[in-house]
Subunit: 378 residues, 2 copies
Amino acid sequence: MVDSTPRQRNRTEMLRLIRAGQGVTRADLARSTGLSRSAVQAIVSGLLSESQVSELEVEEKGPGTGSGRPGTLLVAVGDPVAGIDFGHNHLHVAIADSFGRLIGDRRIEIDVDLAAEEAMNAAAELLSTLRAEHDVTRLQAVAAGIPGPVDLASGLVQSPTILSGWVGLSPATELGRRIGVPVRIENDAALGALGELYGGAGRNHRDFLYVKASHGIGASLVLGGDLYRGGTGLAGEIGHTHLGGRTELCRCGNRGCLEAVVSVAAVIDQIAHTHPGGDRAAITLESFTDPITERILHESGRILGQVVSDLCNLVNPTAVIIGGELGAAGEAFVQGAEQAIRRYAQPATAAALVVRAAELGNRAELHGALALAARALV
Amino acid sequence: MVDSTPRQRNRTEMLRLIRAGQGVTRADLARSTGLSRSAVQAIVSGLLSESQVSELEVEEKGPGTGSGRPGTLLVAVGDPVAGIDFGHNHLHVAIADSFGRLIGDRRIEIDVDLAAEEAMNAAAELLSTLRAEHDVTRLQAVAAGIPGPVDLASGLVQSPTILSGWVGLSPATELGRRIGVPVRIENDAALGALGELYGGAGRNHRDFLYVKASHGIGASLVLGGDLYRGGTGLAGEIGHTHLGGRTELCRCGNRGCLEAVVSVAAVIDQIAHTHPGGDRAAITLESFTDPITERILHESGRILGQVVSDLCNLVNPTAVIIGGELGAAGEAFVQGAEQAIRRYAQPATAAALVVRAAELGNRAELHGALALAARALV
DNA sequence: TCTTTTTGGTCAAAAAACGAACAAAAAAAC
DNA sequence: GTTTTTTTGTTCGTTTTTTGACCAAAAAGA
């Protein structure tokens, strides 16, 4: 608690509430803080005059409260924010207003894994282009997601087995220097979870598991309505769960890891194998939609679901949201996962659970980055 | 927030802080609430005059703050509390003062699984005997743990595959009627975690996994310093995780469940099998300490550890605490589990992790119940 | 021994929140 | 279509609450 005076404390608390929810009335604030409407009024009018918040003109007011005069919605005022999504071979940059509404975005193909410096330069350039294009002079905050574990305290990239070109770097510092705005770094799966939490399939869930199934498998937990990062910020590293009876060689050196069996590359290998004669390098997840491909996706989803079912028994989430390229590749993958989860999870746990593809698809991470940046300001 | 006036709010907050920590000074309160020492003084003197709290006479004051006058410790005043631990074939009841310090306890052997009514009658009687014995006329709260999932909202016993005699009952209501004091019901593993959190191996951890390995396998999560119950209160049901390549029949009807392979009964079966000629019914976990028994325990721990390692990758705890009869049965079991966890968990996750036997042994659940009862009062 | 640091305690002054009042805006009742 | 009910935003005098300054006490360090 850094605020010294009680007014400061209440002010901060209200600003937090206004920023957290999107569209809060003075009456809502009075209820959730326990203060009187008069006190709220005094503080809010202060915030208004400092233009920290503004009143929303829209006449939106859910009839949830029933009858009565509808309140005027308050929203936090702020400069635009930016989000950066480093994928394994793409880079996606976007700018949004302080509420997380997209202003513009750009995506390029680039080998992010190896050339860390290059990738960060490209990101800074792309962002700079976007800012010029949309006339965004000021940025409030930037958040970036990278496909690997990030140390919570130091901000350094952790695992030596993946992202070899990034290990030991501090992307937050590096990017911050290039962009000139403080940058927050997160694991990409964590950002995906945030994206779905604020504006996707997780909107109505307080406890869910987000699984990003792309070139690797990463997971992220939302517990009690908040991102859970684990004791040392490594929560969600399920990609190297050992599958019994499997011998596929994984890039980590072990055999039978989940992400050696279920990943974009593994699925494409299987597709290529069952569709001989084509060019392996030209095949994508969208190349075929025949029953054989469907079955490959379904079976891959089933394997993932079997692993996830054990995790659901431990965590008892109310939703499992499957993102990443495989989550967006079609119904078969998600259905396979759902089938396995329902089959192997405890009946009561499975009954309280929905399995969904990420609503935001492969843009979940980007939207999560924007949301995080918009909410990063204390 | 039910308190209307700001003084009420601050008062409640301070009472909560005093109850949560054991031994807090006025200066501590000022720091953690952000209020001035004067305001704290006013509120605390009010609490003292209402004898809601009292000053601890002991001159204990850790020199952690360095030099300066030591503060006087405040503790919450309250009536004694009781805890009840229903095991699969035992019943353990205890009374403690409002700080959770044991006043007295009693344990009897009883088949809890089948005869719910009988077990609850026995618990009420035992508690009544204890109260008479230690001259405890007033009880503030009671908490009870049962070896099965409890629905958070309704308080009803859930799973139909275990605790067949308890399904559909509301033990909180039933016990409350018999005892005459509000009773709080929790899953036993959750109580074990609480016991270790407040006064055991979890004291210095904010994120840990507690595993109770007795007749079944149950787990419980402490995340961010608080018990995590899951989206619908079913978190920790890992007993029926499917083990690849195993075919042991489980009481749930499936084959190859973790608790069909690793449990007190399964271990004793193996001991009996390797020590022929004895009476199967007379064997306990303590009957033999020879290398063969050690190896059986070690191997059972290893199987448990393999399952737990996947869970650690998801949750990234800083400790795994192993309780239950197997956790207390000797070093071999816990060592086997630790070995497997270190072998199969992500290196960075394993490095941030300690694996420990429950310090409170098979009394962890009971102490957790007492702690919960002592803290249940808002 | 003397200084420094931290704590518990007191009181007037300042700050903050409350409660009561009123107008406004919508839904519900008539 | 009008009236009633409900909920909200807004203002202001009153009351409550907190602060800030001050002092004595109790330890640790010079």
